[in-house]
């Protein structure tokens, strides 16, 4: 079975697409994002910048304009039917844990996020292959845990596979900011802007999954490279 929205391969019992959040069965959803809790994927993407803003001590609001994603955040736990983990593919399990960590972090529940972080990283370790999107998720998780070196490793590995992939520049910029390497981060922001139009024209599926995050990053990259750093505001 494949997702009608993005084409991802799905388990026969899947109710929502692990990649894009589209509802697979039931039919009452109005749009692809209606499929909560997998809609948390959107929140997760948006949560990244929030998380990093916390970590970097900058403004959480500026450059994190993913309010839509956050608004689509998880329902209260009592309203979410527990998923049947045994029926999930490894990719679904990893994505679910990623979303959970990101959501918890965006809600300021750092203890809970920290609890699930190793599980999420292990879930990605267990994947049959780490594609660019999975490595991006791992890198974001690394950043969430404050591990800039590990995030840089994912950025570099993405760049080796696809030299102009935007996720590589994004992870790189964030990781270098975390290590206070301002010139290095600036170079990564500039590289992102240099390649953004051509890359997004390629319509890679992972870009569609993280469109709000890409837009927010672009806005911030423009500000940073124009000498209008948002930090400290």
């Amino acid at each position: 079975m494949n997702c009608h929205a993005c084409g991802a391969a799905l388990a026969a019992t899947a109710k929502f697409c692990h990649r894009c959040g589209a509802q697979v069965s039931g039919g009452q959803a109005a749009g692809w994002r209606a499929g909560l809790p997998w809609g948390v994927a959107g929140a997760a993407a948006g949560a990244l910048l929030t998380v990093l803003a916390f970590r970097l001590g900058g403004s959480a609001g500026r450059g994190t304009g993913d309010a839509g994603g956050v608004e689509d955040g998880p329902l209260p736990a009592s309203r979410i039917p527990p998923p049947d983990i045994s029926q999930m593919s490894p990719e679904e399990r990893a994505t679910r844990l990623y979303n959970r960590v990101m959501s918890l972090h965006s809600q300021g529940k750092s203890d809970s996020a920290e609890f699930f972080l190793p599980m999420a990283l292990q879930a990605y370790t267990m994947l049959p292959a780490l594609d660019v999107d999975a490595r991006y998720h791992v890198g974001v998780l690394d950043l969430t845990g404050g591990n800039a070196a590990a995030a840089l490793a994912q950025a570099d590995t993405i760049r080796r596979a696809v030299p102009t992939h935007l996720f590589g520049f994004m992870l790189r910029a964030r990781a270098l900011e975390l290590t206070h390497d301002t010139p290095g981060a600036l170079r990564a922001y500039r590289a992102f802007l240099q390649h953004e139009a051509a890359e997004r024209a390629r319509r890679r599926p992972e870009y569609a999954d993280h469109v709000q995050n890409l837009d927010s990053f672009r806005d911030q990259a423009k500000q940073v490279t124009a000498g209008k750093s948002t930090r400290g505001r």
């Binding site: 292990q122 070196a149 490793a153 570099d156 590995t157 080796r160």
Partner: protein, 294 residues
């Protein structure tokens, strides 16, 4: 009066067996692949793949018998048992960290510098685990194992973590040895460094697992007893090594520990995984189960 017909022979059981396309594995599995030993009712279908791919396929339980990194086994122990035969150990040698620049006075400190980036063959390889035990702060980029030397030579990484035949050829390419992780491990522990092993899926059952162990051990022993023939086969997988180099490489990684881990080999595996757990590099202690030929 007509004689009774012989009882029907049980159907052949096909076992999918995967290993990496390198000289030591080719040597070990040659007798099995070439039909040199009696495998009873078992027919082996060989499949070749680089070790990181095999590690990840094993995570999905795809393969009945496969070579894996012992690092990866930390994530596989529930589904697979270790076969007591076919392991690769480096006894005072092992994966090597090489670089364009000459060896610094303190390689461990140099590897902690954020400006130094190391090309590694995969995050589940034992070589990578060894690197993280040696220097947890090492910065890395994942590169297919057979491209690492080129990656370093062309300046895309400062150093490379070499497995397989690259361990013997780096100097020809003008690269410098910084650290031999097998040598370091021996200084640390007094033990050989376990790198790779063969695993068998537990759902095959005890009897079949033991039969497979027996076939594998017989294949290794046959190769050792017919070394010239086995080496001739292995040369096809030695990626740039000449005959002498292939002989040397096979001698390094097909040794007494390969025939059977023995007490020392088992202790080395336990020590490696225990240290990895203590360092937070694997999520849980590993319950080691070895299946040996009866």
């Amino acid at each position: 009066m007509a004689a009774e017909p012989p009882p029907p022979r049980p159907p052949l059981r096909t076992i999918h067996l995967a290993h990496s396309p390198d000289a030591d594995d080719a040597f070990m599995f040659w007798a099995l692949a070439a039909g040199k030993i009696d495998t009873g009712g078992r027919r082996y279908e060989h499949e070749l793949g680089d070790i990181e791919s095999l590690n990840r396929r094993a995570l999905q339980g795809e393969l009945e018998v496969t070579a894996v990194s012992l690092h990866a086994y930390a994530y596989l122990a529930q589904r697979y048992a270790l076969l007591a035969h076919g392991a690769s150990f480096g006894d005072r040698y092992g994966p090597r960290i090489v670089a364009r620049a000459p060896r610094p006075a303190d390689p461990r400190a140099a590897l902690a510098e954020s400006a130094v980036r190391i090309a590694v063959p995969g995050e589940l390889t034992t070589a990578f685990l060894g690197l993280k035990l040696f220097q947890p702060a090492a910065r890395y980029v994942v590169v297919p194992f057979d491209q690492i030397e080129q990656f370093v030579m062309t300046g895309r990484a400062d150093a490379g973590l070499l497995i397989h035949e690259g361990q013997l050829t780096y100097a020809d390419r003008g690269l410098h040895l910084w650290v031999d992780l097998g040598e370091w491990w021996h200084v640390e522990t007094g033990l050989p460094l376990p790198l790779g092993g063969n695993v068998v899926r537990r759902d095959l059952g005890q009897a079949l697992m033991r039969d497979i162990a027996r076939d594998l051990k017989a294949s290794i022993q046959y190769g050792l007893a017919h070394r010239a023939e086995a080496l001739a086969h292995a040369r096809g997988y030695s990626r740039g090594l000449d005959d002498a180099g292939t002989d040397r490489f096979v001698g390094m990684y097909v040794n007494d520990y390969t025939v059977d881990y023995g007490e020392t080999g088992r202790r080395a595996v336990a020590e490696l995984l225990a240290r990895a757990h203590r360092a937070g590099l694997i999520p849980a202690p590993v319950d080691l189960t070895f299946v040996a030929a009866a």
